[in-house]
């Protein structure tokens, strides 16, 4: 299989960090060369995917139509997954490269959703981020809008659940159940480390760019009309996230399966009303009266009470029955809930379709899950008297930023990849070795990579692999790939 035993390019990049500092100019030169491949001024868009590891960071350049010389720069996300070695240094390198390329001025900054692997750079390399002194606009999804009632509800639930899950994780670790703890921790890390800066801090840094009056903060709704920024001839459509709780919670591809749907709605309540109650500081949900309870500490030590020591804890004699203990089984719902929170957050991804002159579309799907994708089917806008629908945009997609690092349920077949009949380039910000380290062996899903290859005629670019040799007009740098349209 293609993914075996390749040292990731990002690691190599990290190893050569010192020379790279002075080498960014060469990177710039490479871009210039890339641009030179098409006659100057005739390009319609350039897309650059940074190769920091498992995480998203994109820079899109659009030509100016108002005679301006510097392109219109769109920056989408900037993060790398927790557990990446030297993340601060890598993200600094990425941001420095962006500052270098753009001269510190970004016309549009987009943060798609509140996950560490999309936002970490905004705090990890804050100094470099601060060098982006001019930001024209900041776009966030409506799911970050504190004035939105549904947002408030979702955020409150998420806060409670995360607090309970972190308590649960502590208990698993204390009980020595390392398997469950590792699995749960891996998912929780998408929400940032337990201590230190959080995803909320990262988003605040993004919002702070709009502190001065010149920059505009927009909470995007898919019902908003498309926007054509002044000085460009590209049109920006917001496809998702849908302002619909049911669709947001729809996170599994098997649409016919009502059970999965039920699970999605219930998991929060199931866990929080059950195990979650025991993770509160004051647990008042004990099932029996206090006069029935023998506290663990007493049962483990009281000399007159041998029953539980003999049959449950068995101290001292190598505990032949230790495998029968159930110390953490009651927390079994935790990883389900964590996965669901994770998917729900993925589903709040701001999905942007950039329509270029002539109708070709660049599709940035962030980490949208099924409910987000399905909602695009009902989207429709009137532009210059003509109707443009969600499926139209999918059909015209020539570039696709593959959702959720290539996981199996972030790119539906029907009403998804199969509709992208004109696809030419797919980019997957994934590092399989890192994913394996986190025990996510299915990232990216092989079947999806193959399907993408068939659609995009071989132009599938992965962060963790060199570009396919046939793709001559892809600029490959240690730090990024760049494609010019």
């Amino acid at each position: 299989m293609a993914r075996t035993a390749k040292k990731t390019v990002a690691e190599k990049a990290a190893a050569k960090r010192a020379p790279r500092r002075s080498g960014t100019a060469q990177g710039g030169a490479a871009v210039a060369a890339g641009a030179a491949a098409t006659p100057a001024g005739s390009y319609r868009a350039r897309v650059r995917m940074y190769r920091q590891g498992l995480g998203d960071c994109f820079l899109v350049s659009l030509p100016r139509t108002d005679g301006g010389t510097r392109p219109f720069y769109v920056m989408i996300d900037c993060g790398v997954v927790l557990g990446t070695p030297n993340p601060g240094a890598i993200m600094k390198q990425v941001l420095d490269s962006i500052v270098q390329e753009t001269g510190g001025a970004i016309d549009l900054l987009i943060a798609t959703h509140e996950h560490w692997d999309h936002l970490s750079g905004f705090v990890q390399a804050k100094d470099s981020f601060d060098k982006l002194t001019k930001v024209g606009q900041v776009w966030l999804a409506w799911t970050e809008d504190p004035a939105d009632e549904l947002t408030r509800k979702l955020k409150a639930e998420k806060g409670q659940a995360l607090a309970a899950l972190r308590m649960g994780l502590n208990q698993m670790q204390a009980a020595g159940d390392s398997d469950s703890a590792t699995e749960l921790n891996g998912i929780l890390e998408f929400f940032g480390a337990v201590s230190g800066p959080t995803t909320a801090d990262a988003l605040n840094n993004v919002r702070a760019k709009t502190a001065n009056a010149s920059a505009k903060l927009r909470y995007c709704l898919p019902t908003d009309p498309p926007v054509q920024p002044t000085g460009t001839n590209a049109r920006f459509y917001v496809l998702g996230p849908p302002h619909d709780e049911k669709m947001l919670r729809k996170i599994n591809p098997s649409t016919g399966n009502k059970e999965t749907y039920g699970l999605a709605l219930d998991s929060f309540r199931l866990f929080m009303n059950g195990a979650g109650t025991a993770l509160n500081d004051d647990d008042d949900e004990h099932p029996f009266d206090e006069q029935c309870e023998i506290p663990f500490s007493y049962a483990q030590t009281a000399p007159e009470l041998g029953f539980f020591r003999q049959h449950y804890w068995q101290p001292g004699q190598g505990a032949p029955d230790a495998w029968r203990r159930i110390d953490t089984d009651w927390l079994g719902g935790a990883s389900d809930l964590a996965l669901q929170l994770d998917s729900l957050t993925n589903n709040t991804s701001l999905v942007i379709a950039i329509e270029l002159p002539g109708g070709d579309v660049l599709l940035f799907a962030a980490d949208a899950q099924v409910g987000n994708w399905l909602s695009w089917q009902d989207r429709s806008w009137t532009v210059d008297g003509k109707t443009v629908t969600g499926p139209d945009l999918l059909k015209n997609a020539i570039f696709y930023k593959v959702g959720h690092h290539g996981s199996h349920n972030a790119t539906p077949r029907a009403q998804g990849l199969e509709e992208m009949v004109r696809l030419r380039v797919a980019m997957i910000p994934v590092d399989h070795d890192m994913a394996v380290k986190k025990r996510w062996g299915k990232m990216p899903l092989d079947e999806l990579v193959t399907a993408l290859g068939q659609r995009a005629k071989g132009c599938v670019l992965r962060v963790d692999q060199p570009k396919p040799p046939t793709q001559e007009n892809v600029v490959e740098d240690k730090l990024f790939f760049e494609v010019t349209f």
Binding site: M1, E183, G186, I187, I251, N252, P253, S254, N257, E259, T260, L263, L270, F271, N273, G274, A275, T277, A278, D283, E285, H286, P287, F288, D289, C292, E293, I294, P295, F296, A299, F307, F308, H311, Y312, W323, R324, R325, I326, D327, D329, W330, G332, G333, D336, Q340, D342, S343, H404, H408, N409, A410, A435, K438, R439, W440, G441, K442, M443, E447
Partner: protein, 664 residues
């Protein structure tokens, strides 16, 4: 007072006359013969017969019914649980150990001592939700009852699945597990499951709110440990796992569905064997008796108790209120089966419910046949019941009849387990197993049990794929196409110990079964021809070797003899006969699919007297179709959030936890 002093003879101590009061002349000792001696001993300490049963009180349904006036009478039942003289506090007996720790609440609950005189004289503790000790008693009682049903049906002591110990880089080893553990308050969740990992039932409790709290106080705690149906259901999972370990591997959509459906069937019919549970309902719904609505309703209530309300309601029937309003006129409407039911139910619980509905339907037909004469007798030959309440005698007789049929169905369904393939079961194969097993037990089917089963399965579209007709005859399993030579089979049978029955020590039964498996394996490797092996659907190899099934490369492992166990039956001539069930499996590891296993194998039923292989149930290892289907099924099943990140399938550790959690 005068004392009689006996002078001791020199050198001899005086014989002590103990207990003879002074002044009474000692009569010369009477010489007792052996019989008199025995009588005397008996007179001195009369033997108290060991009781056969220990009556224990339980909730017949679940505690919620006790809170409603119209069901308050029927909510308690007394189970006669087999007497265990060695029962210790816990209760800890031969099969079950109840250990009541509650890790979420960080506390334990003191173990109940069912031998306490105050508890013994009262048929156990009084049912109460507030007493953890009663919960221990009830979980123990219901689980023991399920075990009894299994042992009665199979004619041998029940064993739990052995513990499998995986060590890095070594072959998996197995270890005997003597007791199933029950943790009555293991989880603070709306969940209860059998854990193969711990060999334990983890029963949960949760606070009722919203729709869960119907008929309850909002915020009251609901315990799964005091639901008869849930405990029986989970115990059945454990017992089934003990007989068929490979049914834990979902290799096709039917396997988990079978685990679920089978557990439901056992729990449901075990419930129906309690006449207390039936009488009240039979009396209450007298007018509709011909329509048999009440039992269907019960089954659906049962579904509600185990959290499978939706699935059973969809396949058995539902209570419908008339469209113009009064919910009191709501009537039970039985759902007509459709031949597409089976194929359309793809989710394991739905498909399991189709199986339950089929067995339930067969039960109803049998019950109907057996009670028409009663109804005619009770109505002067018309069979039409008059208005008003029916006589209590009739209620009793009908309830007894229903309970008897329930017992028969229970027995049939469990017995069929010995006639199932060792891996990858389909419902159609289970039907063949049912028919074959029942034919062995009751050669002449006067009451039409088998026809009722076939009819019920067929009307839901459940057929075996490999038979030409759906008649009881043609559904019986066949012997191997190339019969194993009896002379040779006789040789190996001589070496096996086949005494595993109801009186065996369970550990001995386990050990002898393992040893038998080894002997049989050696015999297969040495004495059976390649052609004979191929006829069994297997390939004889000594060591793992590269192999190709269809276009799929991979590694074929050596055959394994999984289980050798006796099954007893009464032969057509009235003699007790024993057969030997031998399960042989073989595994293929397709390359490029880490962790994926493809298994084939066969079950043989060998007549111990004639050494003839009477039946063979085969799953060929080298079947490309089956392999392709399994791979496809594996891919379809890998959806779900877990598959977003993780390559290992979800729920390998606790397959039943996930299954049950979804349904809550």
């Amino acid at each position: 007072m005068q004392r009689i002093l006996v002078k001791p003879a020199p050198g001899h101590p005086a014989p002590q006359q103990v207990g003879v009061p002074a002044g009474v002349p000692a009569s010369p000792p009477r010489r007792l013969n052996a019989i008199q001696q025995l009588h005397l001993e008996h007179a001195v300490s009369p033997r108290v017969p060991t009781p056969a049963y220990r009556p224990l009180r339980v909730y017949a349904y679940d505690p919620a019914l006790g809170a409603k006036l119209d069901t308050v009478d029927i909510n308690e039942a007394t189970l006669d649980v087999r007497w265990e003289s060695e029962l210790k506090p816990g209760p800890i007996g031969e099969y079950i150990e109840v250990i009541d720790v509650d890790p979420a609440s960080q506390c334990c609950y003191a173990p109940v001592d069912l031998n306490h005189p105050h508890i013994l004289t009262k048929s156990g503790l009084t049912p109460s939700e507030a007493s953890p000790q009663f919960h221990q008693q009830m979980a123990y009682a219901v689980a023991m009852k399920t075990i009894e049903h299994f042992e009665m049906a199979l004619g041998r002591v029940a064993l739990w699945a052995p513990r499998e110990i995986h060590r890095e880089g070594k072959e998996t080893t197995s270890e005997y597990v003597d007791r199933l553990r029950i943790y009555p308050h293991a989880l603070r969740a709306k969940n209860a499951y059998y854990s193969p990992e711990h060999k334990a039932l983890l029963l949960g409790y949760f606070t009722a709110s919203g729709s869960d709290a119907e008929g309850l106080m909002q915020g009251s705690v609901v315990f799964t440990a005091v639901s008869h149906d849930i405990v029986a259901h989970e115990t059945t999972h454990a017992l089934l796992d003990g007989v068929h370990r490979r049914f834990r591997e979902a290799t096709n959509p039917d396997v988990f569905a079978f685990h679920e459906g089978f557990a439901d069937i056992i729990a449901l019919f075990q419930h129906f064997t309690l006449p207390e549970a039936l009488k009240h309902q039979i009396a209450a719904t007298r007018g509709d008796l011909e329509k048999q609505n009440l039992l269907g309703q019960l089954a659906v209530q049962f579904g509600a108790a185990t959290g499978r309300y939706g699935a059973l309601r969809d396949y058995i029937g539902t209570v419908k209120a008339p469209t113009d309003g009064n919910p009191k006129d709501a009537k039970w409407v039985r759902r007509e089966p459709k031949p597409t039911d089976y194929a359309n139910a793809t989710e394991p619980h739905d498909r399991g419910a189709v199986l339950v509905a089929a067995v339930f339907d067969a039960f109803l037909q049998i019950y109907k046949r057996r009670t028409t004469d009663l109804l005619r007798l009770a109505t002067g030959g018309t069979g039409v019941l008059p208005e008003g309440d029916i006589s209590t005698d009739l209620v009793d007789r009908l309830a007894r009849e229903a309970s008897k049929v329930a017992g028969h169905v229970l027995n049939m369904c469990i017995r069929a387990l010995d006639y199932c393939p060792p891996v990858d079961i389909f419902f159609g194969e289970y039907l063949r197993a049912l028919i074959t097993a029942d034919t062995d037990l009751v050669p002449y089917d006067k009451l039409g049990y088998r026809t009722a089963f076939i009819e019920a399965f067929r009307s839901r579209g459940i057929y075996p794929s490999d038979v030409k007709h759906l008649s009881p005859r043609s559904l019986i399993w066949e012997p191997p196409p190339l019969p194993l030579r009896q002379g040779k089979v006789r040789e190996v049978l001589k070496k096996l110990s086949t005494g595993w029955d109801m009186n065996s020590k369970r550990r001995d039964a386990y050990c002898s079964s393992r040893k038998n498996a080894q002997i049989f394996w050696q015999w297969l490797m040495k004495q059976v021809s390649d052609d004979e092996m191929a006829a069994l659907g297997l390939r004889r190899i000594r060591k793992p070797e590269p192999f190709k099934i269809g276009n799929q490369e991979g590694e074929l492992r050596a055959i394994e003899v999984h289980s050798v166990r006796p099954v007893r039956r009464v032969g057509p001539d009235g003699n007790i006969r024993s057969d030997l069930v031998v399960e042989i499996t073989q595994t293929f590891r397709p390359s490029g699919m880490p962790g994926r296993r493809f298994r084939g194998g066969c079950t043989l039923l060998i007549d111990l007297a004639t050494a003839e292989v009477r039946y063979m149930v085969r799953k060929k290892i080298d079947s490309p179709n089956r392999l392709a289907e399994q791979i496809q099924f594996g891919i379809d099943g890998s959806d779900g959030l877990h598959g977003n990140y993780f390559a290992d399938p979800a729920g390998v550790r606790e397959p039943f936890a996930l299954m049950h959690h979804v349904h809550g």
